[in-house]
């Protein structure tokens, strides 16, 4: 057991809990970790910062015993240890919260936690587990209802369950892999509070992220990685945004996206018009109520809202996946209320989905096939008896050129590409056809800084050349910098309609959470 440490300042003289020395791990075609050295102290939040593909996840999975290292060594309290599986790591009290949670939705919180306990006996003594959960959850601000089934919990609460699970299993080093990616802003603040509580009690936390702001907010020690190497290590007191940016990107200049405000250029004919459109609530999702919305040429309309307040439904309604229960939908001046999905797309609507791999791509197919299958009408030859894959490839390549993006390999299954590249392929595919309306769902979610900026620039260019764009995002800064108009969704209704110049984030934030309006 590792006792709590109160002496934060004396820590440097202590020996570290874990020492990683020369960790090297290669995958086919890529050196994911190249001689990484890292020390982990108890009572400290250690941020691993870097772009996608910098090797943060690989490194943490090595420490968790998930991957075997090619060379290098892991030392625990000055003794070399070998991890052959996560079980070995857990014996040394290492625990990890993965990006995709490993909870079983149909089971309750305590059942999920009990499954993970190393000392679970023959019988499930609920009372005892509840008692343990309650004592820990109060101490660390991890309040959840122990008897609630997991599917009823929000993502933030599920994350709390994951952390509780580790704490109850006596974990002393928690590895959190991009924990803020799935959280709403106020949930992120809650998570940081939890992390600080853990630190004060002597736990060690490894916090993986690519967001500089978050690191500056909560980390004690910052390790920056790039292309599989450590490019710098700083204590929080020495760190500044500029320093970190330089470590993350080297000499690369980051150009922010600029929006030139156009005065009164909106044409009279909307590309998309929703008139009192409502949808039926399905399962646990909300239904849209009386949505009135117009999108014109050459503008970006931002949709703000806490995730789950009807954004997905709005996109699905435009696409035609959700039916208009009441009201009407007009696209490009025509009544499109009952159009099938294929027609909506053919008439000139492009969709950039929230999660491209699960919503827009067939994982086992190549990018080329994914391009072709999206528009089989265009690429079929001889009445459908052949598919012209070559033309599909040419179109995809041309679209990449048009967008000024670097092309990944197109002839391997799309699931083998990185998240950013999958997103690029889908965007290139969607914008390859002559669209007029772009519905972009969290287009930069989970992307690193450079990809994010590239995609914002693409959208801005399309707006400038006359496209109408709906931008759904949970990044308020993105919405404010990109949008010509902003609407706020709350529980399936539009509760606010602004120009970004005329409002501020605090007001929008209140509307988003239903505090006003």
């Amino acid at each position: 057991m590792i006792g709590p440490s109160k002496s934060v300042n004396a820590r440097k003289e202590d020996e570290p809990l874990f020492e990683l020395r020369g960790i090297t791990k290669a995958f086919p075609n890529v050196l994911a970790n190249d001689h990484i050295d890292l020390n982990i102290w108890k009572g400290e939040i250690h941020a691993l910062l870097g772009e996608n593909g910098a090797g943060k996840s690989t490194l943490s999975k090595i420490l968790y015993g998930f991957y075997q290292l090619d060379s290098g060594e892991i030392r625990f309290l000055n003794k070399t240890v070998h991890f052959h599986s996560p079980q070995d790591a857990r014996k040394l009290h290492i625990g990890m919260v993965f990006q995709n949670f490993t909870l079983i939705p149909a089971m309750t919180v305590i059942e999920n936690i009990a499954l993970f306990l190393p000392d679970l006996g023959m019988f499930l003594v609920r009372k005892q587990i509840i008692k343990k959960i309650n004592s820990l959850s109060q101490r660390f601000h991890l309040e959840v209802e122990p008897l609630a089934p997991v599917w009823q919990l929000s993502i933030g609460e599920q994350q709390k369950v994951e952390i509780l699970k580790l704490l109850l299993a006596n974990v002393k080093l928690l590895i959190l892999d991009e924990p803020t990616r799935v959280l709403a802003p106020h949930e992120i603040a809650g998570l940081f509070k939890v992390m600080r509580g853990l630190k004060e009690e002597g736990y060690a936390v490894i916090f993986i992220t690519h967001k500089i702001k978050e690191v500056l907010e909560c980390a004690d020690r910052i390790t920056v990685m790039r292309h599989g190497r450590v490019t710098g290590q700083l204590m929080r007191s020495e760190a500044s945004e500029d320093k970190i940016i330089e470590m993350m990107f080297g000499k690369t200049k980051i150009k922010q996206v600029e929006r030139i405000i156009k005065a009164g250029t909106t044409s009279s004919k909307p590309l998309l018009e929703l008139k009192k459109a409502s949808t039926k609530a399905q399962g646990f999702s909300v239904g849209l109520k009386d949505i009135d919305l117009k999108i014109f040429h050459g503008e970006i309309v931002g949709v703000a809202g806490v995730s789950g307040n009807g954004q997905k439904e709005l996109g699905d309604l435009i696409l035609g996946l959700l039916k208009c229960e009441e009201g009407h939908k007009f696209l490009f001046g025509k009544n499109a209320t009952h159009w099938p999905i294929g027609r909506v797309r053919r008439e000139g609507a492009a969709f950039i989905p929230e999660n491209p791999l699960s919503m827009a791509a067939v994982p086992n197919m190549t990018s080329q096939e994914n391009m072709a299958v999206n528009n089989t009408r265009k690429y079929s030859r001889r009445h459908g008896f052949f598919i012209d894959l070559d033309t599909a490839l040419t179109d995809l390549e041309r679209s990449f050129e048009n967008l000024g993006m670097t092309a990944p390999p197109f002839l391997c299954p799309i699931k083998t590409l990185s998240g950013g590249n999958i997103q690029r392929v889908i965007i290139a595919r969607e914008l390859a056809q002559s669209a007029e309306l772009i519905v972009a769902f969290y287009p930069t979610k989970g992307l690193d800084v450079l990809s994010t900026i590239a995609i914002r620039q693409v959208l801005m260019r399309f707006r400038d050349s006359g496209y109408g764009i709906i931008l759904i995002s949970d990044d308020l800064e993105e919405l404010f910098s990109m949008s010509d108009r902003l609407i706020v969704l709350y529980q399936g209704k539009i509760v606010g309609h602004f120009k970004p110049e005329e409002t501020n984030m605090v007001d929008i934030g209140h509307l988003m959470t239903g505090a006003r309006g």
């Binding site: 996946l321 827009a360 994982p363 197919m365 299958v373 598919i387």
Partner: protein
Amino acid sequence: MDNKLGSLLKVPTIKKSIAETLLRYLVIILFTFTVFGLVLFIAGKNPIRAYADTFTSIFGSFYGFSELWVQMIPIMLTAVAVALPAKMNLINVGGEGQLFMGGWLATWAALTFQGLPKVIFIPVLMLFGFLGGALWAAIPGLLKAKKLVNETISTLLLNFIAPLIISFSVFGPWRSAESAAYPQTPAFVDAARLPVIPGTRIHLGFIFAMVALLLFWFFMKYTKWGLEIRAIGGNPEAAERMGIRLQWHILFVLCMGGGIAGLAGMAEVTAIHGRLRIGLSQGYGYKGFLLSWVTGGSPIGILLMAFVFAVITSVGDTLQITQGVPYAVINILFSLILFVVLTNPVLKGK
């Protein structure tokens, strides 16, 4: 440039995968026959003797050998009937019922259109055989497309209804007057009988099966519909969002599968029996299902393993005669194969 490189790289992988496939099936076959030999040994029989008997009866005479090919026809067709919907993750357990209904509707046509010349009669019978299976499969197809009933359950349950329709027909309206002792229809006219290779019972259905396998492969690999079906199988949500109509495809593949199974039924009644009988199928639909899953729906695999399945069926016949082992023991052998394949992902080729 990338494209050329890719096509260059593809050739050796295909060759390698065929070699791997062959090796895989060889391992499966050797393993199952060894274990089955053990079963026979425990039952007090001499497995080596049993296999030797089988070997001589199958490979010792031309007729015995030709019977293997006769056996292969319906199971290859019903295997395609399962493999096609499986590409969309639809589980069609209803090959047996679809085969029955194909035979049934073909029988109706054979009894109704007597007097047509053979060149026209055979295509007409094929059409009705196909339709019979396709319409029968349309029931679960519609139920699935409307998101009402799972296709696995509905196709399976319909298997129990189809034989009842056959029974009703052969006991009732279609019963032959001259052989009233047996529940069967009158013999079909000669023009309604599928041509056979003289001296054997190998019939035109073998060509149906080969064409079905070839078309299945071509369809999945090259056509627009194949691409769409693979997309739905790979990610139904994405496919729907791309504008592919799931409901239509569900109905389509189930009907196509059913139609192919119906062809098998049509071939059985018009070539083997020459009339409709209750005992139209020896569980061909289920064997085809097994065959499809054992081979992972690969056309070459279906062809190869169909031969093995036919051998196993002959083993059952031989054992019954020479060793007094009930025919049903071959079910042990079939289930062993499935077991071996399902428990070992390498053998499954995944």
